[in-house]
């Protein structure tokens, strides 16, 4: 990481005007800021840990909307979490989390968790395979990319990889997958940028030099043993991994029978051991809960509860371990899933494939908060209703790249292939950026976007208020399909009105999503006969 660039940011911070791109400058005195920066500068090799929840996590039961609890309960009465059991979040009355996630609740209270509501993308795909590919490649619904967003970021930082790697500046793997297969998220244009450390047991095998998997005492057994030996020796990163791991002789306890915890324990050990690897991917599955996701008698318990409990306990143990190992400042983690699930539950006490869902981002430098409003739930939910997106998942990637990996704004487009709204997820201290103090959430009473008439039969007027700069309005249907983008350009500050012609559209609910700077708001519109 280029420390010189990082310090350049900080020097100019003192002389910037008070409003830039809709961000307001936090008034901070120079000395604590610089002191913090000094501390960060000496060892600021930042790490991102991506936690993939495979199967499509039911985000609506993970992050529960307390401010519209009645609508939530009505939409999925057979699996809705009991209001009294929802875990409250510090400094927040609108949102709570699943009862099994006491670890996340504690971390939130410690100021280390940011929850983003309704993260998705236009015209979402409901197929596991395609949706997974979209999230990992950072593509749009219609684009087929052969690279992963992580791979493109690492390729941007290390353009010659793998030629001349490892070297003195980059002695360690650029990315590590805990698992036997390197995730497509790390695929670069020329090569995969990551290596795989096989499951937990093999990792410990790697460290402790045990006998190789037993093969029979035959000719082919002998030859296979030989080739495997050479394969292990050829892995040029084996030594650096072993070296890093050897420096950590003790770790805090992790929950047993928890595959995610086992993976995160390895990550903690490697980070604490000084490995300069920037990105880690871990994963846990089983989230495709089409049926029986809760217990009939007690919806706070059951299969989904166990899954979430494991995720929460694993993350908490991981953070505690990192803290005790004194490397917690180096790490930001995030959970994601290929899609959320349907607003309305089905008759099997489960939920079917859905669209937008919340993401949990955690770390010492993460800004405490719930970004966005509670998910948009109709009064009478029907089987076709899906949660409309409030944030594009690529905005989350862009924000992390800029705020945590200190990628310059002008370079974000190279990696993410388009410009995306940045959100205040990580403290500006991490990269010496200006941090917004705007409440990006919609305060009660401020309507950034409305429409009239509503309901409408053919035309409706969209009225919106922008603070200036890039302003966008997207129109989605209830499947999340992007119907139109009636507004998408730079504005001067002010109020505007445009006409939206829905004459040819089928009757039903439509969402008008307004975006301006870090602000977004989703307006529900109803087209009738």
């Amino acid at each position: 990481m280029r420390r010189r660039d990082f310090l350049k940011h900080t020097a100019s911070a003192a002389v910037l005007p008070s409003i830039i791109d809709g961000f307001s400058v936090k008034a901070f005195s120079t000395s604590p800021m610089l002191a913090a920066l000094q501390g960060a500068a000496t060892d600021n090799d930042h790490v991102l840990v991506m936690i993939q929840l495979t199967g499509g996590n039911d985000g609506l039961n993970m992050v529960i909307p307390l401010d519209i609890y009645d609508k939530y309960q009505a939409a999925r009465s057979n699996i809705a979490i009991q209001q009294g059991k929802v875990l409250p979040l510090a400094n927040n009355i609108k949102t709570g989390i699943h009862p099994a996630m006491t670890g996340i609740q504690q971390l939130y209270e410690d100021g280390k968790v940011c929850i983003l509501q309704s993260v998705g993308y236009p015209s979402p795909d409901y197929s596991h395979f395609r949706a997974t590919d979209i999230w990992l490649s950072g593509s749009g619904a219609k684009d087929i990319l052969n690279t992963g967003w992580g791979g493109r970021y690492l390729g941007f930082e290390y353009p010659n990889f793998p030629e001349g790697f490892p070297n003195a500046d980059a002695p360690d793997p650029l990315a590590i997958q805990i698992g036997s297969l390197v995730s497509p998220v790390f695929q670069g244009t020329a090569a995969s940028m990551g290596i795989a450390i096989t499951s937990a047991t093999d990792f410990y095998d790697l460290l402790e030099n045990p006998p190789i998997d037993p093969v029979p005492n035959t000719h082919w057994g002998d030859e296979l043993t030989y080739i495997r030996l050479i394969a292990k020796q050829s892995d040029k990163y084996t030594d650096s991994i072993k070296l890093a791991a050897s420096k950590v002789t003790q770790q805090s306890p992790y929950p047993a029978n928890n595959d995610l915890a086992a993976q995160l324990k390895i990550v903690a050990r490697l980070v604490a051991g000084g490995l300069k690897t920037r990105m880690y991917m871990v994963s846990t599955g089983g989230f495709d809960t089409h049926a029986s996701q809760t217990e009939a008698g007690d919806t706070s318990k059951g299969y989904h509860a166990e899954l979430l409990g494991k995720v929460s306990a694993a993350i908490k143990a991981f953070m505690d371990d990192l803290t005790k190992l004194k490397v917690s400042k180096r790490v930001v983690g995030m959970t994601f899933s290929e899609f959320g699930r349907r607003t309305k539950s089905n008759g099997s006490m489960g939920t079917d494939h859905g669209a937008a869902a919340p993401m949990i981002v955690f770390g010492d430098y993460v800004l405490q908060g719930v970004l966005g409003n509670s998910p948009n739930i109709p009064d009478a939910a029907s089987v076709g209703d899906n949660i409309p997106m409030q944030y594009d998942f690529r905005s989350v990637y862009a924000s992390i790249l800029e705020q945590w990996f200190c990628v310059k704004e002008s370079d974000l487009k190279t990696i993410l292939l388009d410009d995306y709204q940045r959100l205040p997820i990580v403290s500006g201290i991490a990269c010496g950026l200006i941090t917004s103090t705007d409440d990006v959430n919609q305060n009660a009473g401020i309507n950034y976007i409305t429409n009239y008439p509503n309901p409408f039969a053919d035309k409706t007027y969209l009225k919106y208020k922008t603070k200036g700069g890039h302003t966008m309005i997207q129109i989605f249907d209830t499947t999340g399909r992007l119907i139109q983008v009636p507004v998408n350009k730079i504005h001067t500050p002010g109020d505007y009105t445009i006409t939206f012609d829905g004459e040819d559209l089928p009757n039903g609910v439509y969402y008008a999503r307004f975006q301006n700077g870090t602000i977004q708001q989703v307006r529900t519109m109803l087209k009738v006969r």
Binding site: T132, T218, S234
Partner: protein
């Protein structure tokens, strides 16, 4: 049927040596077991470069193991067209696209670009011939003989001779070994390579004579007892052969020939080659070869080389007694015809003994060309010779970097993995070459990194399997063809669940089936194609990255 039953089935079991535990004592009695996928793949991978799904269907469709072996041991009916000028400027006036193999002689300059150009042209051409092989062991035998009767292009330098040498190997590859030895002795490239063309009566040059005994016919095993005098005598027999650069042939110049008698040692029955003057002096070569080939060690030496090339490097007492000796008998009985030996070997219990299978480390050529053939990698057509030669040369160069540069073995003894104790073929695999193997397979399966759009069409490959929509069957069929060893259920499950199903529930095989059928129903749609293609790429990359893929 278990292995013990299978081994006791053979009726003619006599004079067999007992092998230690985990080792085999099977011999050359005919294999009578079932000829199924495992046996067919084994046979194909040894006889050909790699085994494609189509090769497997063909082999099993022939009806029996005997018919499959007979088909594979059929010599080529027509020889491949010769290499052409793919390099442009040619000092001898050969036009681009025309063959240079009969070009006029030319005066070589320093930093001879024509020599280097033709060297690359020859090597690319030969690689192309192997890539396009028909279902015959012929091409593997050409490679075998090249490693036996070695010449190096960088020593011979005039590639017209090298091409001719290649045709000599090809002509006799499945023919008569004694005739091959005679032809090679007089081959212009060999005469240049081992100084035969300078060998004259004034002071005989022993280079070829020595190698004739040491490397080409008798070897240096414990039963080899030829003497230095035998070498000197042979050198005198071989005096007088000269190369004509205009006709690209050799001839016998009796004025350069030492026509005194040549006496051989007891090892050779104390025989004498009577010296002859004039053109008859050339027949002393026949006399010499008769003497050498009367020595029983000759047949054994060649059989051992065939064994190490096609079966395994370890020749213990059991193998020596149960396989080498009887095959050597067959070789001699058939007057050194090669086919009867190969036929007996490839039809034997020993060949199909599970203890003898799966243990050959693929040589670089076997690996690179086999990979391209198994996956039907598409190359530019031969008619587009500039691009075709470049693409073939890319593969040849990769194999060269893996230590097998065809046309130029490191020494006259051939490639070390075929003879160097104690590691033999393990020498192909080291911390430099193994990653290179992974790199080639990665480039091709990812469809990125190799020129001329060389890539593996994973969809076309999977489509040839019995039921690609069923992920369990897809994994099984792929492994049955690509691996020679069994893998654990947990690895198979991993491939299905973590790769094909992307970590979804293991009970959701239908996700893969649906995705495959969606692609088949609409193959032009990029999105549906990419969903299955990306997962297949990941699976085949995973399969080829594991050590198991290096075994043949």
């Amino acid at each position: 049927m278990d292995r013990r039953q299978f081994l006791t089935l053979s009726p003619t079991r006599h004079k067999t040596a007992k092998a230690p535990m985990g080792r085999t004592d099977s011999g050359i009695a005919p294999f009578t077991g079932a000829f199924e996928t495992a046996q067919a793949v084994h046979l194909l991978k040894r006889a050909l470069f790699g085994a494609s799904p189509a090769d497997l269907s063909w082999a099993k469709g022939l009806g029996s193991m005997d018919q499959a072996v007979d088909a594979l041991l059929t010599p080529l009916a027509t020889m491949p067209s010769p290499p052409v000028n793919n390099y442009g400027d040619d000092a001898t006036g050969i036009a681009p696209g025309a063959t240079w193999v009969n070009a006029p002689a030319y005066v070589r300059m320093e930093d001879d670009p024509l020599g280097q150009n033709r060297q690359r042209s020859y090597k690319a051409w030969w690689t192309g011939v192997m890539l396009n092989q028909t279902r015959s062991i012929h091409e593997k035998m050409v490679l075998f003989w090249h490693n036996h009767f070695v010449t190096e292009t960088q020593t011979v330098t005039d590639l017209r001779y090298v091409y001719k040498y290649n045709t000599t190997l090809r002509q006799y590859a499945l023919g008569n070994f004694k005739a091959l030895t005679k032809a090679i002795t007089k081959d212009p490239a060999m005469l240049i390579y081992l100084n035969g063309n300078l060998n004259g009566k004034t002071a005989a040059d022993e280079n070829y004579a020595r190698e004739l005994h040491e490397l080409f016919t008798i070897g240096k095993g414990p039963d080899s007892h030829y003497t230095e005098d035998d070498v000197r005598a042979s050198a005198r027999v071989l005096t007088g052969y000269r190369v004509d650069e205009n006709t690209i042939t050799s001839h016998f110049d009796s004025t350069q020939h030492d026509f005194a008698n040549k006496q051989f040692s007891d090892f050779y029955g104390a025989k004498t080659v009577t010296g002859k003057t004039g053109p008859a002096g050339e027949t002393e070569l026949d006399d010499l070869l008769n003497i050498i080939f009367s020595q029983p060690e000759c047949a054994k030496f060649i059989v051992r080389k065939l064994y190490r090339f096609f079966i395994y490097y370890k020749i213990d007492d059991a193998v020596e007694q149960n396989v080498i000796a009887p095959l050597a008998d067959i070789f001699r009985t058939n007057n050194y015809e090669i086919l009867p030996v190969l036929s007996a070997l490839f039809k034997s219990e020993h060949f199909y003994d599970p203890l003898n299978m799966s243990c050959l480390i693929k040589s670089p050529i076997d690996f690179c060309i086999g990979l391209c053939r198994e996956f039907s990698v598409v190359f530019p057509p031969a008619s587009d010779y500039m691009n075709a030669y470049e693409a073939w040369d890319y593969i040849r160069d990769f194999a060269g970097k893996m230590l097998q540069n065809i046309g130029d073995p490191p020494l006259v003894a051939g490639w070390a993995p075929y003879y160097q104790e104690p590691m033999f073929h393990e020498m192909w695999i080291n911390t430099d070459t193994l990653p290179k193997r992974n790199m080639l397979s990665d480039y091709l399966v990812q469809g990125q990194g190799a020129p001329h759009n060389l890539k593996i069409d994973v969809l076309a490959f999977a489509d040839q399997l019995s039921d690609p929509g069923n992920p369990v069957t897809l994994v099984k069929d792929s492994l049955d063809l690509l691996y020679r060893v069994d893998v654990s259920d947990s690895l198979r499950s991993f491939m299905k669940n973590s790769i094909l199903l992307s970590g979804q529930s293991p009970n959701s095989d239908y996700y893969w089936t649906d995705a495959w059928q969606a692609y088949k129903g609409n193959p032009g749609d990029v999105a549906t194609r990419t969903v299955v293609e990306s997962r297949l790429k990941a699976m085949y990359k995973f399969i080829m990255d594991l050590s198991e893929y290096q075994l043949s």
